[in-house]
Symmetry: C2
Subunit: 357 residues, 2 copies
């Protein structure tokens, strides 16, 4: 069997720092005999600097050839005034679309050890473990037509098209029901069916797909209510499935339940479970270069990669367990430290992880 080939895209600002720690974990695994190898590429601002485009042909080629992709974070002030077509986020949108990474998995997990860092009362989040499944290649993100036009009153207007087709909804629906089946067997589909035509079709198709999964309890919730319920009583949820734009909003909201976005990994999968794995946090220009960033979300992303793309849930579990051990031992980067606690750096956190791994 040939080695699994991982493309690493550190990206911008803290991206390179956190990725260096994730690589330490890959090195341990390789030394233990795991059949993996990796190479590096550019995405986002770094790619624009090096090759004039946020998702350049060299990265495209490497990404298509890879078995999985590990990404740091992209974007930052240096690139804010670039023309839109070459801004870093176009690199992310580009690679998602190019590789057909339609299923974005975002677990939101509350670490007991970090309850003090959360805005929420401990009892609201204790034991929280939900999975948000966001469709990632459709919806209003890529919908045509879009642009500027003159409306019926002769005024200039901006417009975009939200849309979902039956096969797109079926595809994410199956992923969602299968994920729910492996967890608490409850799936909540979030839409705005009382207002949107796209949502009406979404709900119809979800109900139809659900007939293949009689063991999973399907419910529906309007997106406004979901935004409220996530804050009111997040533990009512097991798996949530929703479209690209609603998922963008709700998954960021839900990330706060975990206390720090420095702790949350994500996976974006294609139809064959090839995936791009990344922490959900951004490139944090304010702390970049200072050995301050929390590398744990990136390391947890390595775990998701082993679980989903390499079918090695055992390694994912070992990584998850090690993160808990490291937290229990009191290791804290600045984002998860309470006043008075000792703060360690990015490298030291990576080393602490490896020492316990």
């Amino acid at each position: 069997m040939s080695n699994k080939n991982i493309l690493i895209l550190p990206g911008d600002y803290i991206g390179t720092e956190i990725m260096a720690e994730a690589v330490k974990v890959l090195e341990v695994l390789k030394a233990e005999g795991e059949a993996i190898e990796w190479s590096f590429g550019h995405l986002g601002g770094a790619a624009y600097d090096a090759e004039g485009h946020p998702y350049p042909p060299s990265t495209q080629q490497a990404a298509r050839a890879a078995d999985a992709i590990l990404m740091g974070a992209v974007g930052g002030p240096k690139y804010d005034s670039l023309p839109r077509a070459v801004r870093p986020e176009q690199g992310i949108l580009g690679i998602r679309k190019d590789l057909g990474l339609f299923a974005n998995l975002r677990p939101a997990l509350a670490y007991e050890e970090l309850a003090a860092a959360s805005s929420f009362k401990p009892e609201v989040i204790a034991g929280l473990d939900i999975l948000i499944l966001r469709e990632l290649t459709g919806d209003i993100y890529f919908g045509q037509p879009r642009g500027r036009r003159t409306n019926a009153d002769g005024a200039e207007e901006g417009y975009d098209t939200m849309h979902y087709s039956v096969p797109e909804i079926e595809r994410i629906g199956h992923v969602a029901f299968q994920a729910a089946r492996k967890r608490g067997k409850r799936l909540c589909s979030v839409d705005k069916e009382n207002v949107l035509e796209t949502s009406r079709l979404w709900r119809e198709v979800m109900i139809r797909v659900g007939q293949d999964y009689p063991d999973v309890a399907l419910s529906h919730m309007y997106v406004d209510n979901a935004a409220m319920q996530l804050v009111k009583n997040p533990k009512q949820f097991d798996v949530i499935v929703t479209g690209n734009i609603f998922g963008d909003i709700l998954s960021d909201e839900a990330s706060m339940l975990a206390g720090s976005i420095g702790m949350l990994p994500s996976a974006s999968l294609d139809v064959n479970n090839k995936g791009l794995y990344e922490p959900i946090h951004g490139s944090a220009p304010d702390i970049a270069g200072h050995n301050k960033a929390n590398p744990l979300a990136t390391i947890l992303s390595v775990g998701m990669m082993f679980k989903y793309s390499f079918d090695r849930a055992d390694i994912a579990e070992r990584i998850d367990a090690t993160v808990k051990k490291v937290l229990r031992a009191g290791h804290r980067t600045g984002d998860i430290a309470q006043p008075g606690e000792k703060v360690i750096g990015t490298k030291e956190m990576g080393d602490a992880f490896v020492a316990e791994f």
Copy 2:
């Protein structure tokens, strides 16, 4: 001067119960000599039952003629299986559009007395006072074209159009800057400018409108980040302005900061400050008819009506102050009671309010 003419639309389920308490407050004000009168009409399910349409011609006529409208809540299981065109929410969407109620004001206020009922730690919400301004007659809610079509791959798809024109953005922009000017002088405009054409225009126009308000500090935030920041550190905001769909989601999320949606009023204004006032909560079919609903949000909506449509901020302040007094005296309906606290009914809460008023 002729009397101010208020149209009361109790709506469905608890709508009639909470409205009866708001009317007690109107009666006190009238007895004190305020030049107001009121009449009743149907909206939502009640209107469908009585006249076959959720926003029937009789209500339309009365609403157009009124100086202000006070609404309870509409919708509920009885009407869920009706054809979409006559479902209760079409009554709400219909009256908003018909009267041009483009500016939806939703204050989110944390009552010290209710901190125990909130999911948030007291220090996160103590003293919270933010205003969310949601554009209410544009965006993807009413955008054309919308419907079903066959896409390029021959698959069926549902689609909707998001759009905003320059005059629509300017109009809500001016309301937002003026509101910020009367408060903390900070306005945060929320969009998804890194992805949507509609948002690009939105941001351009907000910046342009801002030139008329050099005393107000304008900032911009992506909607996903705003959903996160509202939970992480809500007190960073003063006034938030956003479009219809993002506002729907964010304002419901923000309502949870207040502890109970039973405490939150809202106003929807036209260009002349004629408005529709309503609690933000729904019709609560589960507790309807049991004298359990909290009437305070509806009573606070009466306060907003006096402030915005009748230019009587003094009465609004008196109502706000009385609500605080009532809470301080320990009066609690079920939604805001803690375990062990004495719970009173809808009518008793209305009476307690009037007694302190």
